[in-house]
């Protein structure tokens, strides 16, 4: 199972907990994780990435294993600790005031 940590607004919207576990088929890329996440929690569609273009919303970041993966290719494999469920993928609201 892949562990995903959601920002407060999104786990409340999905009526779940801060950290969720989802089943993701190989290869475990960012795009595959987001697809599985949106499939399990359809109310999150459009809140992390665009409905149509699948582009990340500007003020969201993807962190894992102490690294910023935001600008990696969505098709790239996630780090192994994330792929084997040891470490979570963290979806983070960027520091942007407000």
């Amino acid at each position: 199972m892949i562990r995903v940590v959601l920002p407060t607004h999104l786990w409340r919207l999905a009526n779940t907990s801060r950290e969720v576990e989802i089943q993701v088929d190989e290869p475990v890329s960012l795009a595959a994780v987001l697809e599985a996440l949106e499939s399990k929690y359809p109310m999150l569609r459009g809140t992390i990435r665009d409905h149509v273009t699948k582009e990340r919303r500007a003020f969201l970041r993807f962190f894992a294993c102490g690294e910023d993966l935001t600008h990696e290719s969505p098709q790239a494999l996630l780090p192994e600790p994330v792929r084997i469920g040891e470490e979570p993928l963290r979806i983070v609201g960027a520091m942007a005031g407000g």
């Binding site: 920002p7 407060t8 607004h9 999104l10 919207l13 109310m43 569609r45 459009g46 809140t47 992390i48 409905h51 149509v52 919303r57 003020f59 969201l60 609201g93 960027a94 942007a96 407000g98």
Partner: protein, 371 residues
């Protein structure tokens, strides 16, 4: 016993204020959706427990929620607003053409006859309809064919912020768009035309009589007389007696005819309310005095309503969707400020009280009169 439910959208969540018909004791519920910009909440006229709410966030985009128990619980519905076909471009601040991009829902208007049908006014300006309680949305794209390529955003964005449905004929609707103007359909949204004849924007437009480009801030209508429309424009308070075909100015003796909201008394179709703001560059009440102005003559002759409102050092703004009336007798009038106060009058504006003092900035106020 009858009562009222005031639906308040703020910069950081929604609040629901309830009272019995005396409107003197209030219960405050909230924040609902804490941290989200709540642009609008509105109830179905057919089923008052059916509410719709628009949440917006710079981080997470748009969400729409629906309630079937008067706001006690909420369920997310579709946030998928996809423009019909290739939406093309509109005018940008620098005069270039800019792609149409969905940003948020400013306004929700439930159908007067069907609780599952509602309209959404969005930024970048367009009108969407749902006939399944918000589970899916379809654009009424004919609106953007009225010179959409010439529309351009105002300071608050290119938003469709007002939707008025003719209670005699649901196929007839008027909408207003910031810095684009006012538009009407008579065929259920298939075709539209600008309804701006008589508006003048001497300082804002190179052609002050242009059919599109006027910065309409808000339009109000009394359901018993849907041909009579009252408009608060950027500058000027206007009136139409023919569904917007032509307009005449009724600013009369107002201390400033700049402002945002306008409302009509529930039982007196010639009684209207505005809140004058000093100017387009100074968004606060003239002289630091918060005054609602009431006209009992459909405009031109205005009286200041001040009892219970701060008359010194008041520098808040009242946004376009932040004033509403109930339909009790006497009529209640409500408005919210960017300073987080919600004021109420249970006697048509003669006296005011503060329901809540320190909410986040108020974006919208709607009122439901409950059986």
């Amino acid at each position: 016993m009858s009562g009222v439910r005031v639906l308040v959208g703020t910069h950081k969540g929604a609040f629901i204020l309830t009272s019995d018909a005396k409107r003197s004791q209030w219960e405050v519920s909230g924040p609902h959706f804490p941290g989200w910009d709540i642009y609008h909440i509105k109830g179905s006229p057919v089923n008052p427990d059916r509410l719709y709410a628009s949440q917006s966030s710079d981080w997470f985009g748009q969400v729409i929620h629906r309630s079937d128990d008067g706001g006690k619980s909420w369920s997310p519905v579709s946030n998928k607003f996809i423009y019909e076909g290739n939406p093309g471009t509109h005018q940008w601040y620098d005069g270039t053409q800019h792609p149409w991009e969905f940003k948020r829902v400013w306004y929700l208007e439930p159908s007067p006859t069907d609780p599952d049908t509602l309209y959404a006014g969005v930024e970048d300006a367009a009108l969407f309809r749902s006939s399944d309680g918000g589970e899916s949305w379809q654009e009424l794209a004919g609106l953007r064919e009225v010179k959409g390529h010439l529309w351009q955003p105002g300071a608050g964005g290119m938003c469709l912020h007002t939707i008025l449905i003719d209670p005699r004929n649901s196929g007839r609707m008027a909408v207003a768009i910031s810095a684009a103007g006012a538009f009407r359909t008579d065929d259920g949204g298939e075709t539209w035309r600008a309804i701006t004849k008589g508006l003048r924007s001497d300082y804002e437009l190179p052609d002050p009589d242009a059919d599109v480009g006027h910065c309409v801030h808000n339009i109000a209508m009394h359901p018993s007389r849907p041909d009579v429309l009252f408009m608060q424009k950027h500058w000027d308070v206007m009136r139409s007696d023919n569904g917007g075909d032509t307009w005449q100015e009724v600013s009369g003796n107002l201390p400033s005819d700049f402002g945002f909201p306008i409302a009509v008394h529930a039982h007196e179709p010639e009684t209207i309310y505005v809140v004058p703001i000093k100017s387009d560059s100074e968004h606060f009440p003239p002289e630091g005095k918060l005054r609602v102005y009431r006209s009992r003559t459909g405009g031109n002759e205005w009286e200041a309503l001040t009892k219970g409102l701060p008359q010194e050092n008041c520098y808040v703004n009242i946004l376009r969707s932040a004033m509403a009336v109930d339909s009790l007798d006497p009529c209640g009038v409500y408005f919210g400020t960017t300073g987080g106060q919600v004021y109420a009058s249970a006697d048509a504006g003669d006296h005011w009280t503060t329901i809540v003092h320190e909410l986040p900035a108020v974006l919208s106020v709607e009122v439901q009169t409950l059986p």
